[in-house]
Amino acid sequence: MPVRSPIRSVFINCPFDEKAGYKKLFDALIFTVYDCGFFVRCGLETIDSGESRFQKICELIRECPYAIHDISKTELDTKTGLPRFNMPLELGLFLGANEFGRGRRKVCLILDTERDRYDKFCSDLSGVDIAWHANQPKKLVSEVRDWFQSRINQEPASKREFLPDGEVIFGRFREFVKDLPALCAERRLNRHRLKYGDYTPLMVGWLEAHPP
């Protein structure tokens, strides 16, 4: 059954493995997406061994008008000595879908650690406006919030709204993180090994209980 595609779906392209050390940034990122009224779509949402990872990513990109690509974790793997190519690959796939695909134009935000670092390893992107977060969740939240505000400003007047400042959203995120152990304990979940499928409903439920 094809998945319904809401207008505000955001495809998230970032590292998911713990080795990448992206967990703090990822948690802050998805909190911001939901707090700004958008929905996260990413490779973690379903486990289907019958579907290839590439197929799943293509499907997600097809369904999402928006995407956030974080290419900050492209360092060499300590074991293999090879760089992580998944994020640039998925970014290329998204840009290609936008260029050659049919239907509504897709829009994306590209994130990196430093302002012009991407120019050194992905020079074809030169001239593209990207945002940088310096590996700081607070900065990432502000960059993502500002981008969503710019997208909302393009929507019809009736749907336009003012999002709170990035610092406010980050403050809400910290409140949620403080409440998380109690929420996990009630469900007998280990908060250090929380899976995406358990984490997001907890976060969305918390957001509903704490309207901005």
Binding site: P6, Y34, F39, E161, R187, P201, E208, H210
Partner: protein, 100 residues
């Protein structure tokens, strides 16, 4: 639905009476609408979200109560301290002549 269809018919007609009183109309803020939009997510399990929302609300309530009781305690402490200070004011401190 009313059991008697006649009642239903009657209720649909204007009664002709003028009602007086205050009518409060509250518009949902854009922020509330934004939060509600989340439920439209195609991959979100509404049951899980609802249960998490209830837990988060309970926790919020508990924190509020704790804060309230802490404030009350602080207020009481302050009152006790000020009443102790008043007691001291009432005390007659004997005049002590230095050097005697």
């Amino acid at each position: 639905m009313p059991e008697n269809p006649e009642e239903q018919e009657q209720s649909d007609k204007p009664s002709g009476k003028t009602l007086e009183g205050k009518v409060e109309i509250r518009a949902a803020s854009s922020a509330t609408l934004r939060v509600r939009l989340i439920r439209q997510s195609p991959v979100m399990d509404p049951k899980k979200v609802e249960s998490a929302r209830e837990s988060a609300l309970k926790l919020k309530q508990k924190k509020l109560q704790e804060l309230e009781s802490a404030l009350k305690l602080k207020k009481k402490k302050k009152l006790d301290e000020s009443s102790q200070a008043d007691d001291l004011d009432d005390l007659e401190i004997p005049f002590i002549t230095p050097g005697l």
